[in-house]
Symmetry: D2
Subunit: 336 residues, 4 copies
């Protein structure tokens, strides 16, 4: 159960509401986000919701039986739109395209990528400066200096930045230089990181775990939301299955299911979803038709020379073609 | 290696070719389909292909390193088109729509379904008369009498029939009353059934196994092809994963991969792929954008009263809407 | 609900019972096995079981809420023991060891294997004469002639035979020459084959499907049982997962779960369960400690020359060592 | 390739070795653990290893083709034994038993658990004070105060403590109060945490990821080792599969495979491996027979009242029985 409180609620009013809920046998968690204050009541007893509803200080009450509450559409029916400023949005009726290299590598790479994006009207650039790598001996990214270099160019060009944050200490370091924090698939259940991101007032895109369930993805989003940050984006990036003909199995089913269960925008990552350059396009188009609010994919001026993920990265010609087709798919979907 | 033989090859010529291949250290299987004769040579030794190419009786030779040979696009680059007669095709540049109930139930059900299909220009009707059910106490279908009843109506209406064959003895029984034999997901590796379907001159659609790999699906198709029947269709119907929010996980990746690896048409089954009525549409549209040659789905005049699969079956209003959208997605894809 | 009928029940008595059950809103299936007659009633309504219990002709009644009924331990608490004759048993407090090659190959191979088994007191020999192979060009086994050759030697040596049956037509062919029919992992849900094996009066060992659930394995056993054959053995042989360091993932959990859910004996197949020769032994010992009633594994006089499965086959020295350890593990387990 | 350096190596000698390796086309990482110094050379070129071996400053050289190097048995054949002090060891020929509650709850719970362990000769107690929970509204553990309370009692009783560390900042906080840091299944690829644990001189037990591969587990161990900490323990705790009859699928195969691939001790966690109280015992015994160096499991004076994991927690009677059987299984294994 979610109880939204009025902004001017007095302490003794809140106390009364909490006592009342406790007396029914429910446990209460107080949640204060950057937008509103809520009480989350967890329990299974049957009771008459009107017995609480009349109490002073309550804006509205919603029964939500899901494990996750505040990210559920049972509570908030209208889709959430994330505003990155300068007329760049994710969710709420537009198609957000985010493209860029797996890793930020050099100044010239950034320049060429930004040129490519601008030519195609893409406003959000992806790229990693802290890279999670399964081997300790592999390239781990340029770090914060790489991010600063990138930020300088992107800012000048009116391009927004999404980049992965891997640990709590990086949040403050990265804060001034990113527009969206990305939580990677290996950190979807790094609960301390999620807690800390709840305290930030910048949007966070959470990738589904490597073999995370849809339910777990929503619960991870609930962590950040209940920590205070309502600006959340969900990302389907393929799951681990027995099939080895592709790097991951893009779970296209997850897109309509997440859209139905949650009010948060859903972005699809076809690069990781299939992991094979030649097939990124059909999977990306499929994701749009399935209802995705955005597509994030990897592109590089010379994919074969990329420091990482070269086998799944598009060159700029393929990328241009993809962008055009994505837009036409989205137009068709909107016309339905 | 595939060696296509000329039609008029003499026995002693063939003998010479086989001896030559054996002498290199390859094992030879003779394959005679309803269309041509081939020698399939299995081995790993390096040799000069021209040493064989000049022998009399050979039409052409292709190196194919895949486990499967005759269904590979490395041998036959052009897509295969299956002709069901009366201007009904699967594959080769059209979108085949196949719809109908999970189980054939009654005469009036057939009639109403056929009416619905005709109104929407759909030429192929699906339906089961032999039903594989995990419990022995569940409804197992109307059997051959149901098929005959269905066939009579479908023939009159110009509608083609696709229906599942579960065992060898049903092939002859069903032969006169179906246009496409379907091999279900539990029978993808029922090799005796595949062998026997190789002897039939009617098209066969093979569903991917419940947790079958893409490679295994192609090898199963190779069974039928090498048994003599070249009229094959592949079907992606979702795979079994850890995710329980959907019945199966539609492997949308498999569609472009199968199209690249094989010359056979690829059909997608969104009804089983996600298993939830509300989401069949987005998944079906996604499959078209990913490159599917056809869509097969379940529809029923009253889904909630269907004998089986009611939770994933569309009613006729939803079905009509889906058909229209499928066509528009296909048009868009063709325009690319 | 399972209603066991008395042997001398009269037709009108049975009719009365069925009518009574139908009137509650349950559907009834009549099951007549080689041992007894049962009514299986499927439904969810609450009712007073005593209202039926007093009817003449009923031996006893058990509520069984599982999907499977007759193979459930909720109905039959005591473990089933399968008698192969000549003092050879599977289940019911002994450890059955079954060993032999993947494929029956030659007369001398059979001879040497039988010698090896006899020296180690093993009474059951495994071997395939009909081989399910994913490629149509691979060795498919010696067929019925191989089985006859094997049977002649085994009979003379007092060794029992377990061998895979792949299709309905092979049941009659094989009947005189096997002691246990094996249903392979690709046929666990070949329901026609299961139906026919229900009519046979010889034991059947059913392997779990390649990615079959425990529930599905039990439902497949229910098919055969309800078809008339109570002599059933369940076999855990590893499942398909994302892990590629082993051929399959031996589901050791399945052993105690199957033992708890069903009264049927449970055999483990470590050869397929891990698929790597060096590790067959530890996995086999683990399966015994987990509660298996038997172990089936592959052994060959020269594993590296075996026609199939050579990478997971033990030589006779390893096999002898394994047998000794299996017996000691079983002794320890029995002493608990 | 691993090049172990002599302790007294001079800087210019090391420089020469590195230059030489670079000249072959290999990349070099310097690794300095609390025990020795190494150069890890990554590359694929063929070359004569003797060309490097003669250089001054090198203790020995091993070719290791695995992705992971320092944790590989190709480099270090003898099993590693972890010394917790006071004659408590993990690995190297003994069976380490670690038991205790999922969560540390109260002083009396600790007291009663310690009593139980002492009565049974168990020297290591498990328990969580920082709990990773998928829902933000669930109990998250007593935190550092709980650990201190626990430590005081355990120290007095001569009991060693293993407890999960969830984030970098907790390492220093926990350092004085734990004997083994545990990395949980959701943090196996939290690379920053692994890096920091490399700097600690206390043992670390790393659990396999929720759907982590064996290869990934070893690479995660390599992170800590190459960060400086050689005191590592691997833990198999079940993987996520499609099967829902158990919480996870205990991958018993992983035990012999990890033992073969790595010199590190391997512990099994049957509580999470199957997740059902009644079946913890058979799975634990199976793990010992498969070769585990230790067993970690959950026990509580009143499992049904435990704050978390009550469905998979043994009471003290079951725990006592399990300990006795574990010891007898281990004795039998040692006698082989």
């Amino acid at each position: 159960m979610i109880i939204k409180l009025i902004d001017q609620i007095e302490d003794n009013q809140k106390r009364t509401v909490i006592d009342k809920i406790n007396s029914i046998g429910y446990k209460v968690s107080e949640v204060k986000t950057q937008v509103s204050s809520y009480l989350i009541a967890i329990g299974k007893k049957e009771f008459d919701i009107r017995k609480i509803g009349f109490l002073p200080g309550i804006a509205d009450i919603h029964r939500v039986s899901d494990e996750y509450k505040l990210v559920s559409r049972k509570w908030k029916v209208n889709p959430t739109r994330i505003d990155l400023g300068d007329n760049v949005f994710i969710g709420g009726g537009s198609l957000a395209i985010m493209a860029g290299p797996c890793s930020i590598e050099t100044e010239s790479q950034i320049e060429r990528t930004i040129d490519h994006l601008k030519q195609n009207g893409v406003r959000i650039m992806r790229g990693g400066v802290f890279k999670p790598r399964s081997s300790p001996y592999a390239f781990r990214g340029l770090g914060i200096d790489g991010l600063k270099m990138w930020h300088q160019q992107a800012r000048a060009a009116g391009i927004k930045i999404i980049s992965e944050v891997m640990q709590v200490s990086q949040i403050a370091e990265m804060y001034d230089f990113v527009d969206v924090f990305q939580v990677g698939a290996r950190n979807t259940q790094n609960f301390n990181l999620l807690d800390e991101l709840g305290k930030v007032d910048k949007p966070v895109m959470i990738k589904r775990g490597i073999s995370g369930t849809i339910e777990e993805l929503l619960s991870s989003a609930e962590y950040i939301f209940s920590g205070g940050n309502e600006k959340l984006i969900l990302c389907e990036r393929g799951i681990r299955t027995y099939e080895k003909a592709s790097r991951n199995t893009m779970d296209v089913n997850a897109i309509p299911i997440l859209k139905e269960k949650s009010h948060l925008p859903v972005v699809a990552d076809p690069s990781h979803g299939i992991g094979i350059r030649e097939y990124v396009e059909p999977v990306a188009l499929a994701a749009v038709m399935a209802g995705a609010d955005g597509i994030i994919y990897e592109t590089h001026q010379k994919p074969e020379e990329a420091y990482s993920d070269s086998q799944q990265t598009l060159d700029f010609i393929e990328s241009t073609q993809l962008i055009n087709k994505l837009k036409r798919c989205f137009e068709l979907r909107e016309s339905f």
